[in-house]
């Protein structure tokens, strides 16, 4: 079952959903915010907008944003549980330019 952030009824009625599904693009870890036909993916390592490019927190309902921020750790945990091969904590994996010469961070 997908991890779905609990939102107040009025936000759900307007079409807001915040989800981590069982099958997502793996890298980078992210949470998906859905509002009707619109969808945003926000990185769970750095809170950056992955999709759409140029996406902004200003596009998201303030209350949804606050709930996401409050639940950040729970969202990260939910991702880690669903995708243990690519946890949010593996920061050295976040940037391929990372200057760690011979580390196999997965091991």
């Amino acid at each position: 079952m997908p991890f779905q952030l609990e939102l107040p009824k009025r936000l759900r009625a307007r079409g807001w959903k915040v989800k981590i599904r069982e099958k997502e693009r793996l890298e980078p870890p992210h949470v998906t915010i859905i509002f009707g036909k619109k969808e945003w993916r926000v990185g769970l390592r750095d809170k950056s907008f992955l999709e759409p490019p140029g996406g902004r927190w200003a596009d998201i309902d303030d209350e949804v944003r606050e709930l996401i921020e409050k639940s950040w750790k729970a969202l990260q945990n939910a991702w880690d549980e669903k995708y243990p091969s690519n946890p949010t904590s593996s920061r050295e994996e976040d940037n391929p330019k990372d200057n760690q010469e011979d580390s196999d961070e997965d091991s």
Binding site: E22, R25, P53, D102, D104
Partner: protein, 278 residues
């Protein structure tokens, strides 16, 4: 296959239900006479949408009666018929004879809820091909047949949907399309449409790559993402040192040797020239 974009004809008895979607490119018919008029007036490349068996029959009747008077017109026309309620089995061969592309001619298809389907099909501001509007599951061939918002089919093997880390497994006997076509649900298991398209459609991947920041568009960054998608460690490339993979991912090796690329591609299960698309 010719795909159909942008011009729709809704066949239904309730105009009010679709009123807000009607425009120059979305028309509405509820009688055979109206269907026949649109059929004669409009150029080819229409998408006809029927929500009940009755209107699939009305479409067949209207078109066959026009066919008698338009002997020079080629059949089947390059048009799509979206049958949201699957048509009577007896009418399916006729539909295939009259139109080039029939979607949903099998009761196994599960569609987006009607309101969400209309939102996706009739919104000119979105790229409809980025949405899934219907899905059907075949347990014998172990494949999932998906229909994109531009009526293009997409077939994905069951094996694509591996269990998630928390043990949730897909239930292919319970397929649904939800979230306005952004999610394909298999029982309790949900897959994003994005990841299905990203893994199966080169054009979608290229578009995604183009939208990335410049620093993320390097070959090394693509290899990193693809390796992660395949759940492989750097040490999982038998003929190559982990260090070599790490250096390529950090773009410290600008042009890997052909043999190295072939070894990487083989392990990732893609052609060498495709690695850079991910």
């Amino acid at each position: 296959m010719k795909t159909v974009e942008g011009r729709y004809v809704i066949l239904d008895s309730n105009r009010n239900r679709f009123k807000r979607f009607l425009s120059n490119t979305v028309r509405f018919c509820k009688t055979q006479a109206e269907i026949g008029k649109v059929y004669e007036e409009e150029p080819v490349d229409l998408t006809w949408i029927t929500y009940t068996q009755k209107f699939a029959d009305e479409l067949v009747k209207a078109v066959t009666s026009r066919r008698r008077t338009q002997v020079r017109r080629a059949f089947p026309r390059h048009e799509c018929v979206l049958t949201v309620a699957s048509p009577r089995p007896e009418s399916v061969p006729t539909l295939h004879g009259l139109f080039s592309h029939i979607v949903g001619d099998n009761p196994g298809y599960r569609w987006l809820p009607k309101d969400e389907l209309s939102e996706v099909l009739f919104d000119p501001s979105i790229n409809r091909s980025d949405f899934i509007i219907a899905a059907a599951s075949d347990p014998i061939t172990r494949t999932l047949s998906l229909v994109r918002g531009n009526c293009q089919p997409l077939v994905v093997p069951f094996s694509f949907f591996e269990p998630s880390g928390d043990g949730t497994k897909p239930d292919f006997s319970n397929v649904r399309v939800t979230d306005f076509g952004r999610t394909v649900a298999l029982g309790d298991y949900e897959s994003s449409t994005d990841t299905i398209l990203y893994e199966t459609d080169r054009e979608y991947r290229e578009r995604t790559l183009f939208q990335r920041k410049e620093s993320e568009r390097t070959f090394g960054a693509s290899l990193f993402r693809l390796r992660k998608q395949r759940k492989l460690k750097r040490s999982d490339f038998p003929t190559l040192a982990s260090k070599t993979i790490a250096r390529i991912e950090r773009n410290e090796i600008e042009r890997p040797h052909c043999a190295t690329l072939r070894a990487i591609a083989k392990r990732l299960g893609v052609p060498p020239e495709d690695i850079g698309e991910y």
